[in-house]
Symmetry: C2
Subunit: 145 residues, 2 copies
DNA sequence: CCTGAAAACACATGTCA
DNA sequence: TGACATGTGTTTTCAGG
């Protein structure tokens, strides 16, 4: 019944606070059966966690940008992610194939903050940066189911 | 007491299933006071929703890529986001400043699926695509607090 | 923002197929 | 191993102040 687990994941991806009772109703399972399946999905790591999704603008994070970085010296060991981890403005870090070595997603209150973060990125990771600023976000993080 | 709301948002961003009782304990509020603040944050749209975060690999989504798109004919009306919305493989869509007009994040099971989605993107939105494939993801979607 | 009580829910245990 | 029933303790929810 792998189908049932998919259905449960879809429900929780859309509403992370859905009760086991409601999951049971939607899937035709009893409350405890639903709970058991969810617990297994959590233990297997399929469900990594739960979070509230917040409105960046309401939080005062008005500027979003993608920053592609390239090491100054490609012969050096590449530990950019470690070196950049301490910057909370970096929301995501992807290692990519292609010209840049990493692609970062950055969120800050103002353009001035972006400038400051870019300077920190260059200094911390010894990289050059190529920044693409986001004008608007038609949609983001749609559930993968 | 704007400080309290920030704290609540931080807690819920990290654990979207935290109970109002526990939020109260962490913030020094009673259960119902905590619940009331959360409800207001939801109504104001600061909290947009709750979701389980899933492991893409476990779901069989082994390929992630960023796709920059450019319209074939820049004189035409630009409704790419609308035209692409129906493709569930597109997780996020950002309107960006710079050479491409949009940046898409795409997730699919295999490279063959990526190829298929790129064809659909080009056909649906009448754009050219420039794809950057993700090799690994050191970190992603860190809480903005 | 708190109290308090009723309803809903979570969750451990035990049973059955 | 997976589904279910039941019982106990929490949590949610909605009065009221």
């Amino acid at each position: 019944m792998e189908k049932l687990d998919r259905r449960i994941l879809e429900l929780l991806a859309r509403d992370g606070r859905m009760s086991y009772t409601d999951i049971g109703k939607e899937t035709g399972l009893s409350t405890s059966a639903a709970q058991q399946r969810v617990r297994r999905l959590e233990q297997r790591g399929v469900i990594k966690g739960y979070r509230a999704t917040l409105d960046s603008n309401e939080l005062g994070l008005l500027v979003t940008a993608f920053v592609a970085i390239k090491p100054f010296d490609p012969s050096q060991p590449d530990d950019a992610p470690d070196r950049l981890q301490h910057l909370p403005e970096i929301i995501s870090c992807y290692s990519v194939a292609g010209d840049p070595s990493y692609l970062l997603k950055v969120q800050v209150p103002t353009m001035a903050d972006l400038e400051a973060v870019l300077a920190k990125i260059r200094a911390s990771a010894k990289v050059s940066t190529h920044t693409t600023t986001v004008l608007s976000t038609p949609y983001e993080d749609r559930p993968q189911l």
